[in-house]
């Protein structure tokens, strides 16, 4: 089943819909992804990369709805969203 909106009674223990991968070499710390993530999954961390740029980091991956806006707005092509094919399966098991 494919849902376009998460139901309110979604299982809180369900797996996130997507996993975010940040390329630490490409990231230049502009902060676009952290500012415009609708679920506040990303934030600007304290870690620096080898060029001295402050890196974006993942705060809470379980909130991710896999909307893909971070991937779209990243000017450095550094963010990859990996869709979780297991997420909707665990949804169906949850008794409503």
């Amino acid at each position: 089943m494919k849902l376009w909106r998460t139901p309110f009674d979604r299982n809180p223990d369900a797996e996130p819909l997507g996993y975010i991968h940040i390329d630490k070499i490409r990231c230049k710390g502009c902060g676009f992804c952290a500012e415009y993530c609708p679920r506040e999954v990303l934030h600007m961390g304290a870690e620096l990369n080898y060029k001295g740029y402050k890196l974006a980091a993942i705060k809470d991956e379980s909130k991710c709805l896999a909307c893909g806006y971070c991937e779209l707005i990243c000017p450095e092509f550094a963010i990859t969203l990996i869709l979780n094919s297991n997420a909707n399966k665990s949804e169906e098991k949850h008794p409503v």
Binding site: E15, Y19, I25, R26, K28, G29, C30, G31, F32, E35, Y36, Y53, G68, Y69, E71, L72, I73, C74, P75, E76, F77, A78, T80, L81, I82, L83, N84, S85, N86
Partner: protein, 283 residues
């Protein structure tokens, strides 16, 4: 954890992007990256044959786009992106030619080529990344810089009235005109898809931040400051008249699809004349 082996990134843009050239040269907070991302996604969603898409770019920061795409591309001299694309299109009418360039390149030195390409209604898509300045050469005042902005050559404020690009193109005879900012990415992608699929001269202006050169002089020292500014100032108004689309220093930025009309392209006129020319002359 079981994950899909094909991510959305790999599905849509990785095959068109020269990953070995990354990280690219654009500054942190530059708006060209998201626009390129949208363009590559648009090629994918328009279901074009990548062998028949060619990207031509001029000089400037956005001129580097030609080097980062895995399509047929050419990096032309200053302002001459549109003439080169015109030649490509006339030699091989099957090609989808896309001109990817900045405001300094397209409107200042290539301004004459821009209005004449619009007048002829050549079938091509022009993506103009408008950052109101010459970024690569050190921030001189550009032809689209609004009045009163500070640049490297106008430290007390710009005193030259700027171009209103949608009005210029409307008057020149383009068939498709749209404007978005770097934040309206889903709309921009749909607009590029629409422009790539339709015949005629399509012009898409994208308002983009330039934090290191333009923003530094105008109280927007980071890309995020410009984006927050766009959220406050942008007004979506489809079909807005060309007089309404002027950009002030502090006033609203009208965005949307301004013009979408069907008119015969240069190729149609050429075919008509060629058919006439082939008729035997009665003696």
């Amino acid at each position: 954890m079981q994950i899909d082996d094909v991510t959305s990134y790999e599905r849509s843009i990785a095959k068109y992007l020269r990953q070995d050239r990354l990280p690219h040269i654009w500054c942190a907070g530059c708006g060209i990256g998201p626009v390129l991302n949208c363009f590559l996604r648009a090629i994918d969603s328009a279901e074009l044959n990548p062998d028949l898409v060619s990207v031509v770019s001029g000089i400037g920061c956005s001129g580097r786009v030609a080097g980062y795409v895995k399509l047929d591309s050419f990096h032309t001299t200053h302002g001459r992106a549109i003439p080169f694309a015109t030649g490509l299109k006339l030699a091989n009418p099957q090609l989808k030619t896309v001109v990817f360039s900045g405001d300094g390149d397209l409107v200042a030195i290539g301004g004459n080529h821009l209005i004449h390409a619009a007048r002829r209604n050549i079938d091509m898509t022009v993506i103009c990344i408008n950052n109101f300045t010459y970024g690569m050469t050190g921030g001189q005042v550009g032809p689209t810089a609004p009045l009163d902005v500070r640049t490297a050559t106008t430290p007390y404020g710009n005193f030259e009235p700027p171009f209103n690009l949608p009005w210029l193109l409307h008057a020149s005879g383009a068939s498709y005109i749209a404007r978005w900012t770097v934040l309206h990415l889903h709309q921009l992608e749909l607009t590029i898809v629409e422009a790539l699929r339709r015949p005629g001269f399509s012009f898409i202006e994208v308002i983009s931040p330039c934090p290191a050169i333009y923003g530094r002089m105008n109280k927007e020292p980071e890309g995020l400051d410009s984006l927050r500014n766009y959220i406050k100032r942008s007004v979506i108004k489809h079909g807005a008249g060309p007089r309404e689309t002027a950009i002030d220093h502090k006033g609203p930025i009208v965005v949307g699809k301004f013009l979408d009309i069907d008119q015969p392209t240069l190729q149609d006129h050429l075919i008509g004349v060629a058919a006439k020319a082939k008729k035997p002359v009665k003696k």
